[in-house]
Symmetry: C2
DNA sequence: TTTGAATGATTCTCATGTTAATCAGTGAGG
DNA sequence: CCTCACTGATTAACATGAGAATCATTCAAA
């Protein structure tokens, strides 16, 4: 972001009546509430902190791990599917493909049917890493289950899933 | 990450018995389970997708928003406190301070008592943005409450908080 | 058949995450 | 007073997130 830093002033609606802005600071707004955005961020950070050492030991990043894991389980996929399943943006995936291919964890070749599409597949070397990391990963999740309660984890996952699929007024797409 | 790419081979334990790795691929490991890490990631992404347009309209990133919001509510803070409250890493904060200061949203000056510490404070311009964005932000949360259920949101926040404070065996710090 | 809209991927650019290294200021001991 | 371990902040280097623009290919309509 931060690229419209120098956008035209036309779409920066002028701040009307300074009395309702700067002066309003006398009675600061209070957000008081715990925020979902932050809560999710902190929880995820906490969870990941237990995985990062495992992944680091195998010299793969969290995102690289998601990519090769998806390919491990999903066979041959095109970039779009892969990006979606691994929750990675297309531009990031493009870069990662380059790196992962150089390291010999995946192979890439164009789809003979549709010349635009790029097909990705995991290599034996990639499979080896997955099979090396997966057990340790599952151990961490088992540990979380034990501490947090398996049913509660399931309930949490349900809520997260539902939250992710929530459609609100003024959807994220924007309705100009 | 990815900097130990060329670390010594000594800490890469040799893959023993190929029968248990590459060959094992005949019966691929299945992770089958929904993963907390991914679930949290997707949920957060979904939630943020509703806020990003608001923040973008004011030309601030999500992290910048967290920083000025914390300063708005917390008064004068040093970098460490700020980083902690805004869930931002120190190196990131250093860069952000530079940018936010140039844009006139915050001020920075050394602590007279402790020369190492850097004190940060929001400016009227920064307050104005907070007071501009906050209402829209709260509207989104209100919408989420309506769709998802206020009590369920609270319950979710409780679980997230507990998850974030979970101490597991083999803590993230590593016990060598 | 040809053109033009649509799609899939890549490239660009800037901001942040992440780890390690470094720098500066503090403070307790010697 | 001086040294050294420690703390707080910054810098360095690489990877990814995010949005916009571009490129190539496909496909449907003219």
């Amino acid at each position: 972001m931060q690229k419209m830093q120098n956008k035209t002033d036309s779409d920066v609606r002028p701040r009307a009546e300074p009395e309702t802005t700067a002066t309003q600071s006398k009675r600061p707004l209070r957000d008081r509430r715990r925020s979902l955005a932050i809560g999710l961020l902190r929880a995820r950070e906490a969870v990941m902190s237990h995985f990062r050492p495992i992944l680091a030991a195998h010299d793969v990043t969290e995102q690289q791990w998601r990519v090769i894991r998806v390919l491990y389980e999903g066979g041959k996929l095109d970039a779009t599917e892969l990006a979606d399943k691994a929750s990675i943006l297309a531009p990031s995936l493009t870069r990662m493909i380059r790196a992962l291919e150089e390291r010999g964890f995946i192979t890439k070749h164009k789809d003979s049917a549709d010349g635009r599409r790029v097909l990705l597949q995991i290599t034996p070397a990639g499979q080896a890493i997955v099979e090396d990391v997966m057990p340790e990963s599952q151990k961490v999740y088992a540990d979380i289950d034990a501490r947090f309660g398996e049913e509660r984890v399931e309930k949490l996952l349900d809520m997260l899933e539902e939250l992710a699929s929530l459609k609100l007024e003024n959807g994220p797409i924007g309705e100009e």
